[in-house]
């Protein structure tokens, strides 16, 4: 058995792991990263990036179809657009491939040694990796667990055949005639919307009273409306039961009565679970927080020298959270003083329209007992939104009533994902309503709605 030793070993080359390794390499830390598949993890290979590629393709196709229907208010018309999903997927795979190569290149540039294989803990300082060329033993002073998460499987309907997870949904060769989506959270709705735009008949089954239950009703309402326009059937308070005998229909129970949902494919998006098995974690017996690995504000686990970052450490399971944790841990391992001190982790939902949240919602803020001011500005009153047929949605700002410190910002609307940067910046910098109101926002852009929302909270919005 070959044996190497290093200062830092990162297990998993997803966004958290590879950022951690790159930063550590930049800081001169002798670093090894282990990945069983391709660099980039869920995010790059079967998550954020490919899903956004598919969503974009679906959006473009849908625009062409709208024009072809002769109902384009822009006066566009064309005949019979078609989509070759196999080519779409090939294009998507090309992007993923380029990014894979990019990450590998960045790791190399930072002087990180990459080992391909399945890691397994021997003890708190030693990991064995099964590589193609045999067993490799790695001894490390510090180990970062960045094993990520995986889709949760339904026990009655395990993945396989027509029952697919988001991973398979991103690599279909043709557009299915019908897709039943189990789980009306953001992953199910992002993909469900894309398939609807590609021409599939999509049905969404959600167990709770409304879709996107983690968002407040004001934010999810424009999405529900748009799903209706796209012909997506939404059943709330509905529990999926099983596939019919011929495998073409999904049997479910809606408010206690049985329903049948056409389902050439059943997309199960009922959540994700941390990957804590299959790599010998039981050998080191770390403290857990529920299913997740328990960490402190420096991502330290209950064992000295072992850190955990990303989805394996809990919600929110977001790539950018993992990246920030990874960077922080690299700095800590290099001997710098760091601790988690972020004020917010913005979250984006790439539905139609998109949702962005940063910081506290009005309800969360009220729950802390603080008196708040809320300012909301609709895109209906925003010139840029009107010129892009994007009048649905709004920007909402939540601030303390006493000193106007901005506690949270939410938006729903077309293209609002790009506003997440200014939302996050405002909160991290400790902006007050006056700071946002006093910043010139370029005209005509959707970002003006952010400024107007702050003005609204101050009681003097100009365009409403």
């Amino acid at each position: 058995m070959k044996e190497i030793s290093c200062k830092l070993l990162v297990i998993g080359a997803g966004p958290g792991g590879y950022i951690c390794a790159i930063r550590a390499g930049q800081l001169g830390v002798d670093t090894v990263i282990v990945e069983k598949a391709k660099a980039g993890g869920t995010c790059l290979n079967v998550g954020c990036i490919p899903s956004k590629a598919l969503i974009h393709a679906a959006d473009e196709f849908h625009k062409l179809r709208s024009a072809a229907s002769g109902r384009s208010p822009l006066g566009l018309s064309l005949a019979n657009p078609t989509i070759d999903l196999a080519r779409t997927v090939a294009w998507k795979d090309g992007i993923v491939g380029r990014l894979n190569g990019g990450v590998t290149g960045l790791l190399k540039k930072a002087g990180v040694k990459a080992v391909i294989g399945v890691a397994r803990f021997v003890d708190g300082k030693t990991v064995d990796v099964e590589t193609e060329t045999g067993l490799q033993r790695i001894r490390a002073e510090a180990i970062v667990i960045a094993t990520g998460s995986a889709p949760i499987e339904l026990s009655d309907m395990p993945f396989g055949g027509s029952i697919i997870s988001s991973t398979e949904a991103l690599s279909l060769k043709s557009v299915p005639a019908s897709v039943a989506v189990i789980g009306g959270g953001y992953i199910g709705l992002e993909l469900g919307t894309a398939f609807a735009k590609l021409g599939a008949h999509v049905t969404v089954l959600e167990a709770q009273a409304r879709i996107l239950p983690q968002y407040d009703a004001d934010l999810s309402k424009p999405i529900a409306k748009r799903l209706g326009e796209l012909g997506v059937e939404v059943f709330t308070q509905t529990v999926a039961k099983r596939l019919s005998a011929d495998g073409k229909t999904l049997l479910a129970e809606h408010n206690g009565r049985p329903i049948e949902v056409p389902a050439e494919k059943v997309l199960v998006t009922v959540g994700r679970r941390p990957v804590t098995d299959g790599f010998g974690l039981e050998e080191i017996d770390l403290d857990r927080a529920g299913k997740f690995i328990r960490i402190d504000d420096q991502c330290r686990t209950s064992m000295r020298g072992i850190y955990a970052i990303g989805d394996v450490t809990g919600e929110p399971m977001l790539a950018h959270r993992a990246m920030a944790q990874g960077e922080m841990v690299a700095e800590i391992v290099a001997g710098n003083k760091r601790a988690w001190d972020k004020r917010c982790i913005p979250a984006v939902c790439f539905t139609d329209p998109e949702i962005v949240t940063a910081g506290l919602s009005p309800d969360e803020a009220r729950a802390t007992g603080i008196e708040i001011k809320v300012g909301q500005f609709p895109f209906q009153a925003n010139g840029r939104a009107m010129t892009t047929l994007s009048e649905d949605g709004f920007v909402r700002v939540v601030a303390r009533a006493d000193n106007h410190l901005v506690l949270g910002i939410q938006a729903v609307g077309h293209g609002v994902s790009e506003l997440s940067a200014s939302f996050g910046l405002a909160i991290e910098m400790g902006a007050r309503l006056e700071d946002i109101a006093g910043t010139i926002h370029a005209h005509p852009t959707q970002s003006e709605a952010f400024q107007e929302a702050a003005l609204k909270a101050l009681g003097h919005a100009l365009h409403i």
Binding site: A339, D341, T368, G369, E428
Partner: protein, 430 residues
């Protein structure tokens, strides 16, 4: 999960209580074995209290400035497994009770509040996190500062919660951090320039400062001092000292005036043993000591302490110097033990270069004499035919006039003067 109770340890012989001067932990903090939890101060020495277990701090039994009895519960720690006490109950019965009093009360009446420096400014206080508003712990108690300021603070080891922000909504700016770093842990002052300042800093007198205050009050209220100042020509001694320092062995420390003075005092005490006494004025008993334990008043970062050179009568000049260096270092670094800080029979007070012309030393109760050393300077002295430059130093000495008459006081000082002016006498066999 069990609970482990750490009680105030017996920190020294005959010590029944100690003052809590520092907490290194707060409730909710994880602690590891041997981690320092608190510092307590007895009459003079500070003792650190380590944790004997791993766990999480549940409860602290006193606030800074409280006096806690030996054996009273000090910290409760949640530990895995069986604890030392089945049920956590009430507070310790030490003198630590009334501190639940509202913080806004007049500070005079509440000696048990934590040591803190409060800026009572009339200007608007930024970031009103108080006024009854409950703020979500993790998300809002974070200091309001940009990521760049936070990073700088962390790298400089500054807890931003202690920095006063001058920006909107109490935001901490780079300038606030600069000022905080420049000033140390002081509260923010008004901006520079000529402006009226209305702030009053209230500094609670705790720990060593409180001991010093009590000691000084005791000495000056009980002891009628007589202070006697005499001029000493140190020229001969300085010549000798220069020579001895030049020829000293590598393991010998550099000699200052103090070891000579100590030896001279030992010789003078042999002639006038009354000055090397302690006076128990309650019992009406003077204890005349045969041992000469000389306290050396020493300035430390925390304040005045008096390490004691024991048995100066049995130490040669070099031995005195070695012991003096060792104790001064221990006192300055706060590592001096209680025994090293108590038991003196007579004291020397020396401010070195800051010694001035005359001082009025305060006797270290219950002693009866203290010798103050003033600054040594070259002065013109009339030798009968001309002015000659001589190295002159004053000694300002105070005596307890209840038990030392002026005549005896003067005789003692004159004896010391003679010994210092003719240093050979110090080394002559008695």
């Amino acid at each position: 999960m069990g609970e482990f109770v750490i009680k105030m340890p017996d920190v020294g012989e005959g010590v029944a209580e100690a003052e809590l001067v520092e907490w290194h932990v707060k409730p909710g903090d994880p602690v590891r074995e041997d981690m320092i939890l608190a510092a307590v101060m007895t009459d003079k020495a500070t003792v650190e209290i380590p944790s004997p277990v791993n766990g999480t701090v549940l409860w602290l039994g006193a606030e800074i400035g409280d006096t806690v009895a030996v054996k009273a519960p000090l910290v409760r720690i949640e530990i895995a497994g069986e604890g030392t006490e089945p049920t956590p109950v009430e507070k310790p019965e030490a003198k630590t009770e009334e501190k639940a009093a509202p913080k806004a009360e007049a500070p005079v009446a509440t000696p048990s509040q934590p040591a803190k420096v409060e800026a009572k400014a009339e200007t608007k206080t930024p970031a009103p996190a108080s006024n009854g508003v409950h703020v979500a712990p993790e998300r809002l108690e974070k200091a309001l500062a940009s990521p760049a300021v936070r990073l700088r603070a962390r790298e400089s080891g500054v807890d931003l919660r202690q920095v006063t922000g001058t920006g909107p909504a109490g935001r901490i700016t780079h300038d606030d951090l600069d000022q905080f770093l420049a000033r140390g842990a002081q509260p923010a002052a008004a901006p520079a320039g000529l402006a009226r300042k209305t702030a009053v800093d209230e500094i609670k007198v705790t720990g060593l400062r409180r001991r010093i205050a009590e000691k000084m009050t005791l000495s000056t209220s009980r002891i009628p001092h007589i202070t006697y100042v005499e001029e000493v020509d140190m020229t001969a001694l300085e010549d000798l000292r220069t020579m001895m320092n030049r020829d000293r062995k590598p393991d010998q420390p550099k000699l200052t005036i103090l070891p000579y003075l100590m030896r001279a005092m030992v010789r003078a005490i042999a002639d006038l043993p009354g000055v090397n006494s302690t006076f128990d004025d309650g019992a009406g008993i003077i204890s005349r000591h045969h041992a000469v334990h000389i306290g050396i008043a020493t300035q430390t970062p925390a304040g005045l302490t008096v390490p004691v050179v024991r048995h100066a009568e049995a130490r040669g000049i070099w031995d005195c110097a070695i012991e003096l260096n060792r104790l001064a270092e221990a006192a300055r670094t706060g590592t001096a033990t209680r025994d090293e800080l108590t038991g003196s029979t007579i004291t020397i007070s020396s401010l070195g270069a800051l010694g001035g012309i005359v001082s009025t030393p305060v006797i270290n109760h219950p002693e009866v004499a203290i010798v103050g050393v003033n600054k040594l300077a070259v002065r013109p002295v009339w030798d009968g035919t001309q002015f000659v430059p001589r190295k002159i130093m004053n000694l300002s000495s105070s005596f307890d006039h209840r038990v030392i008459d002026g005549w005896d006081a003067a005789t003692f000082v004159q004896r010391v003067k003679t010994l210092l002016e003719t240093p050979a006498l110090i080394f002559v066999e008695a």
